[in-house]
Amino acid sequence: MSSSTEIESLATGEYKYGFITDIESDSAPPGLNEDIIRFISAKKSEPTWLLEWRLKAYRRWCTMVEPNWAHVKYPAIDYQAIVYYSAPKSTANGPKSLDEVDPELLATYEKLGIPLHERARLAGVAVDAVFDSVSVATTFKSKLAEAGVIFCSFSEAVREHPDLVRKYLGSVVPYADNYFAALNSAVFTDGSFCYIPKGVRCPMELSTYFRINAANTGQFERTLIVCEDNAHVSYLEGCTAPQRDENQLHAAVVELVALENAEIKYSTVQNWYPGDKEGKGGIYNFVTKRGACRGKKSKISWTQVETGSAITWKYPSVILQGDDSVGEFYSVAVTNNRQQADTGTKMIHLGKNTKSTVIAKGIAAGRSNSSYRGLIKMKRGAVGARNYTQCDSLLIGSRCGAHTFPYIEVEGNAGQVEHEASTSKVSDEQLFYCRQRGLDPEQAVSLIVGGFCREVFRKLPMEFAVEAQKLLSVSLEGSIG
């Protein structure tokens, strides 16, 4: 129905209604309706099928209700008050190289400890940086291209590799999967795309940094990673947002596809603004992440360190479809002040001899609540399937909560599940011991908590592990006293 000219006229038509275009960014007005979706699609010169897909998702979303089963509380979100598209102006034509990237922007990344320029090269990390909703710069593109790896912004992938995108988009997280996934499918503005062809080991760690900058802006990025037979990739994702008094919504979708004998390692360090001590402001982080181990002997591994966000609602999952496939989930979730996290995983065992491991560490301080929620499901026919889950919670102070909500569902006598959980505190003895050796209380707590998280940190790539330990210290600041 919509031809490109129609889209264009819609887009220009919308302009008349006054899109805010200030010095820094190019934005849509707040609110969500089919016209906004058409506007976003037109802005990105998308093909018709993608617009149709977005609209289907939107219509479905309109019929859905926001989930309320998570152990989190927040005031109702006004979806009509959110800006669904915001792009830094300087990238309207796309930077050709890092030199063209706004130095202010680069300075911001620098401040965040994300050296796009220097350290990235030294560390051999290719970075795709997403500022608000638009991919800013991708480094090392040529080097990757030599290896046959495609690593680019989602918009570029839609333009340059439409067949691949069309084949895999929504194949792991369908647009109607859940409320936030449907919302994302309707309005996603950018994200990363990564494709590793048959037999290729990606020559370097790939990395994306997300940042929400503009006020009242929602971020809805979408990441799609496909590893063909015998391919291998390690992917890092970092997130930050500046301090703002109002809450901001982040509803991302990540889809991973691993074909035969492929391996995807996905690491996240999430440090969205958590709100202030009284719980004012902060990001609502409602994210759907799921990987499909489609091929035999494939492996998907999620590692996450979650220290930010006012609310985290996130369950990186693996569908273990291929025989002998492996799913892993290693997680550290730290909450302080008024933060709330409800996070965990889902391991769905379908194939024979599929294995999954879940190690989740929840740390709650201040008046925060940290919950682990995880599903281990073994379908009939998953002969020889095994899962091992360990969830440990650490409480710091007596006004916080740490919770465990495992769901174990086993059909038939072919699988085996083991689940353990414990709750502990930073003991006075441990604190005193460290202080007697000269460490101040904050150092001591961060050291002890770091020890508690060690099993997960060691799964992170080196630079990330250091960053994670630092973040831990920062987010636990003022948690004792």
Binding site: E429, Q430, F432, G451
Partner: protein, 249 residues
Amino acid sequence: MLNIVDLHAEVGGKPILKGLSLSVGAGEVHAIMGPNGSGKSTLANVLSGREGYEVTGGSIQFLGVDMLTLKPEERAALGLFLAFQYPVEIPGVNNTYFLKAALNAVRKHRGEEEIDAVDFLALMKAKLAALSMNELLINRGVNEGFSGGEKKRNEILQMTILEPKLCILDEIDSGLDIDALRYVADGVNMQRDGKRSMIMVTHYQRLLDYIVPDYVHVLTDGKIVHSGGPQLAKDLESQGYGWLKAEEE
């Protein structure tokens, strides 16, 4: 070095130390003996500033500084080291990493530069060799899964590396068999350099056969009731604490 005058302290509202005075000079080794419940461990904890031990009177001067206003880590930075009776396990925290953090905290306080990882490792190796300690231990979590003897050895290793000015050894002999005791005592004796002072808190004379003190004090009901030379410990061993009380009365 250390000057304790008329110290009174309570635990949970119950008076434990009731006017304890003690003076320790540089390089001296003092043994404090006494029956159970006399206040030996309380003294060690009060000196190191543990919470829950409330000082209700008296003073503690360490190197001319009033200790009572200082936090535990500040006392440690000044050069006070407590070898714990029951060293706590800190799972997941690498022993080497922990020690490096502690040493740097102390060095920072002294105005020295932080030691880097390479130099630290060299230092650690040297000390380990001197103590003929198993290197594998230091790569484990702090005291995690250590036997009683290994925990005490780890305390000695920490002492060796942090180079404190005053060491308080709280029942360092408890739970050790004779070989482990000899080993730990050797480690402590290596630290006696004529400048470093030590306070050994113990219930048994046995330890003093291996670490010979300059002075022996008897602590009863929160006060030092008797002081003397190493011979005093031997008298206690043969006659018990009873005669001291009788003598006092």
